[in-house]
């Protein structure tokens, strides 16, 4: 079992450029989460999916961030255009839902210069 797979591991882009992150959850996990972790902070939820439906996106800055989970399996998170303040680690996690725990991916470290 590969666990939750995220790519790329690292990304450096110039401000105003677009960037996309990809996540492949554990097979069978219907619930998928995207979290953002700023330096020195804990992870903060951006969006939660139940299968292909975004059921909680209240913390997603919709002016520049978008996400999709076509077919309810893997997911992409996009930022366009990126700003300096978007530099952070973007974490993907998946779960069977309910009271089951999360499994986190290794994250994508984004640096915007």
């Amino acid at each position: 079992e590969a666990g939750v797979v995220q790519s790329p591991r690292y990304k450096i882009i110039e401000k105003k450029q677009p960037v996309a992150f990809w996540c492949n959850p554990i097979s069978g996990h219907n619930t998928l989460y995207w979290y953002r972790q700023n330096l020195g902070q804990g992870p903060e939820l951006l969006i939660r999916y139940e299968n292909e439906e975004a059921v909680d996106d209240s913390q997603l800055p919709k002016d520049r961030f978008s996400a999709e989970r076509l077919k309810g399996v893997d997911s992409t998170l996009k930022i366009q255009p990126a700003e300096l303040g978007d530099s952070a680690v973007y974490l993907c996690a998946s779960s069977l839902g309910g009271d089951h725990g999360y499994t986190f991916g290794s994250g994508t470290r984004l640096t915007v210069v």
Partner: protein
């Protein structure tokens, strides 16, 4: 609003000394509490959850609803315990985890 507070950013202890990582929460209902750990160059992983009432790697945590705390304890720290520790809470059911800011534990030989 749900909130998790970890008052210590860094905690340094000597090997063999007791460890207590503090976690306080604010939540109006009955939350589920968790401790997650992130070792150097590894992904965030679940350490323990209060409903399991288990000891993992010698760590235990007791939910104190009166004090709204869920402190993580270990009687004798080991060097391999050095890591970032995050306290987190969630409502029952399919709701997202809310994390504290984390405490870095450094165990000194």
């Amino acid at each position: 609003a749900q909130r998790v507070t970890q008052p210590e950013k860094l905690l340094s202890v000597f090997k063999g000394a007791p460890v207590e990582l503090k976690c306080n929460y604010s939540y109006s209902g009955s939350p589920e509490l968790f401790w997650y750990v992130q070792y150097s160059r590894q992904r965030l992983q679940l350490l323990l959850r209060h409903i399991s009432r288990e000891s993992i790697k010698g760590f235990t945590a007791d939910l104190n609803k009166g004090e709204t705390s869920f402190h993580l304890k270990k009687p004798f720290a080991q060097e391999e315990d050095s890591a970032m520790y995050y306290c987190a809470l969630k409502n029952s059911g399919n709701t997202p985890l809310v994390f504290g800011k984390g405490t870095r534990l450094s165990v000194i030989a």
